[in-house]
């Protein structure tokens, strides 16, 4: 799309972070207490300006419906958003997201969740779109046109819970110890230049994707222009938004595998490519030449999840920590080993993935 006026005039969020993820390969349900304890252990990796969690498998009764976690600043935003949701979707069920009052979280926004499906024959400007694009379009519409409303997550059988505070405070606020999920990711944030906005915390999600991210993407300036060329408008000024949109483009729209998408983010160096077989050499040369503007340059460790897998990935020279550990059917990914040992002292295997090499863990079913 044509870049909006003054698209270059943005202020980017800069932050350091701690991340944690766990997946049970047999869909065994893990209590929220585990990721909360792990994130609490990494308290010092944040500064109280952002914490959050994503959980998969938490809405088994509504697993076939898209669940919109909505955040509202005021009543007007609720009214306007519900109008949009009812206009574009069949709304099956809605409720406030249960929260509890906590001293650490003053003046929180309001949260509702909506379980929706796309109508069989929608009559609106998005009616020509495939189902997932339809969902993305409505998310974008709410985020960009309704003041005070924000879509926190929009996937099936999953949800994100995030806000301004330390992760343990956010967990307490959202009563996360009451949820059980087969994949959890958590995030603790240390922003340096923003007052903190609930929507700006991690995980960042779109459809079933969720991303937690520790890093600063130095290539952000070109990544967001590249995404704009491909009709994704970056509005949130976080690096992580770029990761989310690129994943959506590479995997969902271009049909690349997760491994290949990871290689777009953190491609092999040219001297490695030089040593590859002629076939691989052509593959990676073409990949880098084509997706060069999407490469994530700068320090990062990210965890990406959807309903079926968890992926951990570092930048090409491993400038941020990322560790993987195994215990029976559970795989942990974390910024620090201490956080994993805190929730699972005895581990079968612990390793540091190599720079730029994705670790992808699939569910076994």
């Amino acid at each position: 799309m044509k870049a909006p006026d003054r698209y270059y005039d943005f202020e980017k969020d800069i932050s350091g972070c701690g991340i944690f993820g766990v997946i049970h390969k047999k869909r065994g349900l893990i209590s929220g207490e585990m990721p909360i304890a792990a994130m609490t252990c990494m308290h010092d990796r944040g500064n109280g300006l952002g914490g959050g969690f994503a959980a998969y498998g938490i809405y088994p009764d509504h697993a076939d419906k898209y669940c919109f976690h909505m955040m509202y600043d005021d009543k007007k935003a609720i009214e306007n958003s519900e109008h949009v949701l009812r206009k574009y979707f069949d709304l099956h069920f809605l409720e406030p997201i249960p929260t509890r009052k906590t001293l650490a979280i003053p003046n929180p926004p309001m949260f509702n969740r909506y379980f929706v499906t796309v109508p069989e024959k929608p009559v609106n400007e998005f009616s020509e779109l495939a189902e997932e694009d339809y969902i993305v379009s409505v998310v974008m519409k709410i985020n960009t046109t309704i003041p005070g409303a924000f879509v926190v997550s929009s996937g099936k059988n999953m949800g994100a819970f995030k806000g301004v505070g330390f992760p343990e405070d956010i967990a307490e606020f959202f009563r996360l110890e009451e949820y059980k999920a087969y994949i959890w990711t958590g995030h603790n944030r240390f922003p340096t230049n923003t007052p903190g906005w609930w929507g700006g915390a991690h995980p960042f999600t779109i459809l079933n994707w969720s991303i937690v991210h520790n890093g600063e993407i130095s290539s952000y300036g070109i990544n967001r222009r590249y995404l704009c060329e491909n009709d994704y408008l970056c509005t949130m000024m976080t690096d992580t938004e770029v990761v989310a949109y690129e994943l959506d483009m590479l995997i969902r729209k271009h049909g690349l595998s997760w491994e290949m998408a990871a290689k777009c983010f953190a491609p092999p160096f040219w001297d490695e490519i030089e040593r590859m077989s002629p076939e691989d050499k052509e593959l990676y040369t073409t990949l880098r030449a084509t997706y060069g503007p999407g490469m994530l340059n700068g320090p990062f460790a990210i965890l990406v999840a959807d309903n079926n897998r968890l992926m951990g990935l570092n930048d090409r020279i491993k400038l941020r920590p990322l560790l993987v550990a195994e215990k029976d059917d559970m795989i942990f990914m974390s910024s620090e080993e201490s956080a994993v040992r805190e929730v699972c002292p005895e581990l079968d295997k612990v390793w540091m993935p190599k720079a730029g090499e994705p670790v992808i863990i699939d569910l076994e079913d």
Partner: protein, 508 residues
């Protein structure tokens, strides 16, 4: 000097000869191709005529006793903001000759140099800067059309297989190329030096519009062959000799006009390569007479693709003019794989001074607009952008790439590397430094071995500096800088200028 017509009186330079140091060895007499120094038989000593001095500093550089200094003539015209000396001198000249003012080298006029008003970023604390001496730092660049998306399937062993074929690319180890300077405009020694330096450093040089001498075909992997409106030296072998073909539509120093290589510069080798008779003028028409519109350009692009069997990318070089973004978009849609934009400060061997100094726009603005327009239209992947015209140092290169260029051409800097002092008389064929001349006595002043080494050194030096700047910004690959305008800030620029450049002001 007395009893001289007024145009002779107001010359630009003075030769100062230290009488104590001068040993009358006549080196200056032999070195000056403009006869400014001469042996005065009656006085039995070397004398000089200031009016003939063009300020090339050749005599000063070669004087064995350092007896010579060349200075601007201290006698000034009465100060006048409107009637600056250059206008008076030009009018005196034209009143004498009735001719068009001819000029060489890039425009000296005082228009803003936006490179100097843009500053780069560096990492502090929140992300680490990367040390290129310890970590890999990648400058490799591919010029040519890229697909919008790739199709990669995973076979049953889980191995990825590429289904999309990349169209031909020009591979560069460093995104700095030697700009188009034709054989004829500069001599064979330098063509050979450029070819060798480009090969040694893994970049490319452009033949310019004068064809390619057969003996240089072996450097084809690092050669861009140019097709200009005069079609000099264009034949099938030539088109297949290089790794890219460039259609020259315009030149930054002289948009809208053609070229003129005077017969004096056409010796046997130039004649043979250009396929024109010895001693006859070689005139390139202002337009290509087979391109009167964009659809004609499309035909020429595809004619060249057919002729070269779709094995090399096709570049189209245009001058930076007012509607450059829309023109570039048309050029890309016509099938160009590379669009080269040449700004108004680009060099030239010969251009009418009025054109050179008044036509076109600076490359920084043109580049920013072309890159943005192609992105807005979703066709940035279809062509690489090469920026040219007034790039003076690796800092300029980094800024150009951050604005959106894939690579840059350096022409003037190339010549400075082999000794050019920008005296600006390239069109006379008497270049005292042996660069813009085919006079064998003068051209042998350029030793191709030494010139090749200097050019390769320049590319390497700039390459190292680019790596340092990249690493400082926390990047380890050039593609993450390309179009990354977040790494640039403007100083002292108006809102309009910032908006055109697509950058924020420093401090924001």
């Amino acid at each position: 000097m007395l009893f001289q017509p007024i145009n002779k009186n107001y010359h630009e330079f003075c030769i100062e000869r230290d009488k104590d140091l001068c040993i009358n060895c006549k080196v200056c007499v032999r070195q000056c191709s403009y006869d400014a120094h001469f042996w005065d038989e009656s006085r039995q000593k070397v004398m000089h005529d200031n009016t003939k001095c063009i300020g090339c500093h050749r005599c000063e550089a070669l004087c064995p006793t350092a007896a010579l200094s060349i200075r601007n003539k201290p006698s000034d015209f009465r100060p006048h903001k409107l009637w600056r000396p250059v206008f008076l001198q030009n009018i005196y000249k034209q009143a004498d000759t009735g001719g068009v003012l001819l000029a060489g080298m890039g425009s000296p006029v005082d228009i803003p140099v936006y490179w100097d008003s843009m500053l780069l970023d560096a990492s502090q604390v929140t992300n680490p800067s990367i040390d290129p001496l310890r970590e890999p730092m990648e400058l490799k660049t591919f010029l040519g059309a890229k697909p919008k998306r790739l199709s990669i399937v995973t076979d049953k062993n889980g191995k990825p297989k590429l289904k999309t074929k990349l169209t031909p690319q020009l591979e560069l180890d460093v995104p700095i190329m030697f700009a188009a300077m034709s054989l004829g405009a500069i001599n064979f020694n330098l063509h050979q030096a450029m070819a060798r330096a480009a090969t040694e450093t893994g970049t490319a040089y452009n033949t310019g519009e004068g064809g390619l001498h057969k003996s240089l075909y072996k450097y084809g992997k690092n050669t861009i062959v140019q097709v200009a409106s005069g079609r000099f030296g264009v034949h099938l072998d030539y088109l297949k000799a290089g790794s890219a073909i460039e259609i020259k539509v315009g030149q930054g120093a002289k948009p809208g006009i053609g070229g003129h290589l005077p017969g004096e510069k056409i010796n046997f080798m130039v004649s043979e390569t250009r396929m024109v008779p010895i001693g006859s003028d070689a005139i390139s028409p202002a337009p290509h007479h087979d391109i009167y519109s964009i659809e004609d350009l499309l035909q020429l692009i595809y004619a060249l693709k057919e002729a070269s069997e779709y094995k090399v990318p096709i570049s189209v070089k245009i001058a930076a003019v007012h509607n450059v973004a829309a023109i570039a978009s048309g050029v890309v849609r016509a099938g160009a794989d590379i669009v080269t934009v040449d700004g108004m400060r680009g060099g030239t061997g010969a251009a009418p001074a009025m054109i050179r100094d008044n036509v076109g726009i600076p490359i920084e603005l043109a580049l920013a607009q072309v890159d943005q327009r192609l992105r807005d239209e979703g066709i940035r992947n279809k062509a690489s952008i090469v920026a040219a015209g007034g790039i003076r140092c690796s800092g300029d290169v980094v800024k150009a790439i951050a604005l959106g260029a894939d690579a840059v051409y350096i022409g003037t800097a190339t010549l400075i590397a082999v000794g050019c002092t920008l005296c600006g008389r390239c069109y006379t064929g008497k270049c005292p430094w042996g660069i813009a001349t085919n006079d064998s006595k003068l051209s042998k002043r350029q030793n191709p071995d030494i010139a090749a080494r200097k050019l390769a050194n320049l590319i390497r030096a700039w390459g190292h500096e680019i790596e340092e700047m990249l690493g400082g910004m926390g990047l380890n690959s050039i593609e993450s800088l390309r179009g990354n305008r977040d790494k640039l800030r403007g100083v002292g620029l108006s809102d309009t200028e910032l908006d055109i450049l697509g950058i924020k002001h420093a401090g924001r």
